[in-house]
């Protein structure tokens, strides 16, 4: 039997404000498969439902209809505790705004997913986190707090945090949206390099056609439907 895809969506729907006069359906039945080690871009106009889709995939939100399988495991019926631990184990997030904890150093922020499992990070985990920080050029800044880092540096810490737990799937919602072109290029190149080294699957939302063009696959979302899906 072949390995299941990292991600498989079947008829996924999402409505907001259900049961109120303002009820809207944002995603109208999404079908999508993402194989292991894929490097895919999710593009589309603002308000087309990209963040909503990413939040559903990341198990931060629940769909109203359809099924969402992570690593072959259906997730609709899982309770919040299971979804949370599945998220912690298998998914890494990178948000547009770096979203680091201000009370923790860069290294501690990277170790946060490991810490959330309730145990003090092991020596191996610490060394691996440090090595990753070094790999992205932040080795000397590992003990700095987020406010002591530049925007690009913070985003690199966030990327390292998303990868440190060796997730199967990395979800990045406009990771370079808040950076200047140069920093954005650097962050994107970094994602590309780490993807090559570590082989996770990546789904990255971006507005930048230049960056989308550097992905292996481009999924276009318009008005809550997949308009096009092209691999290069």
């Amino acid at each position: 039997m072949s390995e299941p895809p990292v991600l498989e969506l079947r008829g996924l729907r999402k409505r907001y404000a259900v049961g109120t006069p303002g009820e809207v359906e944002v995603l109208h039945g999404i079908d999508l498969r993402l194989g292991r080690h894929e490097f895919a871009a999710l593009i589309g106009p603002s308000g087309s439902g990209k963040s909503t889709l990413l939040n559903l995939i990341g198990l931060l939100d629940t769909p109203c209809a359809g099924e969402l399988c992570l690593l072959g495991e259906p997730t609709r019926a899982l309770d919040d505790g299971r979804r949370t631990s599945l998220r912690g184990r298998s998914i890494g997030f990178v948000f547009q705004f770096h979203h680091l904890l201000p009370a923790f150093t860069a290294l501690e922020n990277v170790l946060l997913p490991a810490m959330a499992r309730g145990r003090r990070p092991t020596m191996v985990q610490r060394q691996e986190a440090l090595a990753l920080l070094e790999a992205v050029g932040l080795g000397p800044l590992a003990d700095r707090k987020p406010y002591e880092l530049s925007g690009g540096q913070q985003q690199r810490v966030a990327i390292v945090r998303a990868l440190a737990g060796r997730p199967d799937l990395v979800l990045a919602d406009e990771p370079t949206g808040n950076l200047d072109t140069q920093a954005a290029d650097a962050v994107f190149a970094l994602l590309r390099r780490l993807h090559q080294e570590r082989g996770f699957a990546l789904l990255v939302v971006t507005h930048d056609p230049r960056l989308a063009g550097r992905c292996d696959r481009i999924v276009e979302l318009v008005d809550g439907r997949i308009r096009s899906d092209a691999s290069r």
Binding site: D80, F95, L101, M115, A116
Partner: protein, 406 residues
């Protein structure tokens, strides 16, 4: 086990220093008030009880009142519906010597002292005062009321015709140690006694009326040959006096009254005071709890995004809940430690103030490690309870909502 929660709680508290300080201060003030109040009121009550018990026995065995029994007809109907209370005349406790032996056999009883007491007139020169004769066996009686400790003149020698009288009485009679006074109990027998000691028990009524003399001359004056009017007892635990008195009454068939019955009004007043101080404690704790809850609630709102990050990286709701509960408990504990220090300092100051005013502590404050431990436990629990509502809100926070880009 709670390593993660503990790490997060302490970090968040340290990061939000101003807020943490605000809560800790609030708790510290509350705990200080409670510690100070408890020690003060405990001391005050202990002093009142000590004053009361310093001059009286824990239990008094008396000859039963003479009860006028209504005549009954053979059918059991009352012939007389009105019963006149007879004037009480001094009567002896039946077979008191064997009763003393029996009372000494009770494990809880630590001292037994027979007493022949009654009213008399004391005369010196042209001055006369009505007094209370207290005929005692000094060795026994002083184990119940330590009169020798309260002597202000002379020495403690109560035997034969040597007596000790209260300071107020001595002043009113113009008598000093070595003077002789005449005691007359109105039974046709009167005698002259020598004052060997003057005491001040601290209760005006007693210092103006008490005359301690040996049992035998008292029996003679009061026309109680070989008898005693009551037997005084001391028990191991004065708070158990009522229970012991009941057991003695039931077992020996005598009238036994505890100090708690005799001083019912004092005990009622103390109970009322305890109630009001408990109310104050409850309200202080409530005020502190609402303070903690509101500051933590604000902190949950401010930290929405951080909570969202935590949830996104795999932190369970229960962990988020515990992180905020722990914050409540930690500020509670720190506040309690600080409050105990402040309360302790207040108590020391109070003590020094009393010392300066009267030469001795205003009164013995009841400061025990248990008090501080209880305050710490209370503050921790209150802190945790106060954190319940904000913590639940934090745990239920929708991570999508919290992480929505701004």
């Amino acid at each position: 086990m709670l390593w993660f929660e503990w790490t997060l709680a302490t970090r968040l508290l340290r990061e939000g220093r101003a807020q943490s300080l605000l809560i800790v201060t609030g708790i510290a003030v509350g705990v200080a008030v409670i510690v100070f109040l408890t020690a003060l009121i405990g001391g005050l009550q202990a002093q009142i009880i000590e004053r009361t018990l310093g001059t009286q026995s824990h239990i008094r065995i008396r000859a039963p009142d003479e009860v006028a029994r209504p005549l009954r007809a053979g059918t059991g109907q009352h012939l007389l519906s009105r019963v006149d209370q007879r004037a009480q005349r001094l009567r002896s406790v039946d077979q008191w010597q064997s009763l003393v032996a029996a009372l000494a056999g009770f494990a809880e009883v630590t001292a037994v002292s027979p007493l022949a007491s009654g009213p008399a007139l004391a005369r010196r020169g042209s001055a006369s005062r009505s007094v209370a004769l207290m005929g005692i066996e000094p060795a026994q009686y002083t184990r119940i009321v330590p009169v020798p400790r309260h002597l202000v003149a002379g020495r403690w020698q109560v035997a034969g015709n040597d007596i000790a009288i209260g300071a107020q009485l001595a002043a009113e009679l113009g008598a000093v140690v070595g003077d002789r006074i005449r005691l007359d109990a109105g039974t046709g027998r009167a005698d002259v006694f020598t004052i060997t000691g003057i005491f001040e028990l601290g209760t005006r009524e007693l210092d103006a009326r008490f005359v301690y003399l040996a049992l035998r001359p008292a029996q003679a004056l009061l026309d109680l040959p070989g008898g005693v009017s009551s037997i005084d007892l001391r028990v191991r635990d004065y708070l158990q006096a009522e229970a012991v008195a009941r057991r003695i009454a039931a077992r020996l068939g005598v009238t036994a009254e505890s100090w708690m019955t005799i001083n019912r009004n004092i005990l009622d007043a103390l109970a009322a005071q305890t109630l009001s101080s408990n109310l104050i404690r409850v309200f202080v704790a409530l005020a502190a709890a609402f303070g903690i809850a509101s500051v933590l609630a604000v902190s949950v709102v401010q930290r929405g995004r951080e909570i969202g990050i935590l949830r996104a990286v795999g932190t369970q709701r229960a962990q988020v809940l515990r992180i905020f509960l722990l914050q409540g408990a930690i500020v509670g504990l720190i506040g309690a430690a600080l409050g105990s220090l402040i309360g302790g300092a207040l108590l020391l100051g109070w003590d020094a103030l009393g010392l300066a005013r009267s030469g001795r502590g205003a009164f013995e404050l009841q400061v025990t490690p248990a008090l501080f431990l209880a305050a710490a436990a209370l503050a921790t629990v209150v802190g945790m309870l106060a954190a319940v509502v904000p913590a639940r809100r934090a745990a239920r926070l929708d991570p999508v909502e919290a992480l929505r880009n701004v």
